[in-house]
Symmetry: C2
Subunit: 189 residues, 2 copies
């Protein structure tokens, strides 16, 4: 049986870590929390931010590490809040977003998982979920979960019991897990 080496999740957000830990455990991957604040560049894409954060996280912890950057892209608002989702959540919040919208409510929730085990050597995995913004706050989970309804559902991420089996974070982590497990098998051979 293969033995997986330690894998860290670098973030200041314990909620994100808990979701990632729960999702990756289904793939037999054990995740440890490396709590830290990482500098984010003002970039137009999550990918650029994630690469930058992963390299930084590796410099700080010197072990194989993943970081996540995610963002909600609302079509009627030209992709707002997109790469600035955390700042927007901390300032105008979900109530602000609801005020900004009228009929056109479609949105994409996007996650990028970036893995680094050597300086300047980052692998990325993306996950997109199409959906729409609800007309009011529904449910109590963190972030934009109470206002995002995935396509084909009538409930928000907050209300869905199976969020961790369908979310953007799940899709990106599943891609990562498939690659990571295959990589470990290759090393073990």
């Amino acid at each position: 049986m293969q033995t997986l080496s330690s894998l860290y999740f670098a973030s200041s957000n314990k909620n994100k870590f808990e979701e990632a830990r729960s999702i990756l455990s289904e793939f037999g991957i054990s995740l440890k929390f490396f709590k830290c604040g990482l500098e984010e560049i003002q970039a137009k894409s999550l990918e650029e931010i994630a690469v930058h954060k992963a390299s930084q996280a590796y410099l700080l912890c010197s072990k194989a590490v993943i970081v996540e950057d995610d963002g909600l892209f609302i079509k009627a608002l030209m992709g707002f809040p997109g790469p600035y989702s955390s700042f927007v959540f901390d300032t105008i919040g979900n109530k602000g977003i609801l005020k900004l919208l009228s009929k056109q409510r479609s949105a994409i929730f996007r996650s990028i998982i970036a893995y680094c085990e050597k300086k300047q050597d980052v692998m990325m995995f993306d996950g997109d979920v199409q959906g729409k913004i609800s007309t009011k706050l529904q449910g109590k989970r963190w972030g934009f979960d109470p206002i995002f309804i995935p396509q084909g559902e009538t409930l928000t991420y907050s209300q869905l019991k199976n969020k961790n089996l369908i979310s953007h974070r799940y899709l990106a982590l599943k891609k990562f897990a498939n690659w990571y497990l295959h990589k470990q098998i290759s090393i073990d051979r």
Copy 2:
């Protein structure tokens, strides 16, 4: 009579340059445009962004250079859009900001001028103007000018003919000019 050495204004925004040029010419300082796109870090303060941009601009043009970073900080929105003013303007725009506000409308427009003439050696000058957000768009000038009314005025930046004599950008550039001219005199002695 002293001879001032060349001074550049690095930005991708010609409007900003034109205002800065006009303001500094009143102090006898001539400004040249160095058009470029500068990377902005996702920082919580304009100062951090400005320092980073000024160092970068100096690396690109290798001459004495100033950059400006400004932001509108709306009290009722926890300082939104603040350091992310450009992104917010390009996505939800002035109409979005107006939708977010009700009674409490006070705001601060803040400018940071950062000067660099050697790598890692940046001087900063700030300018703050207290004011409020108008209830509708008034006037046609660029950026947040049509929705910002400085304290003691009834018109927006867009409508005020003397904007360049009272604005946050003027205040920061005045501080810079006083320091810069004094510095040149010291060198000339």
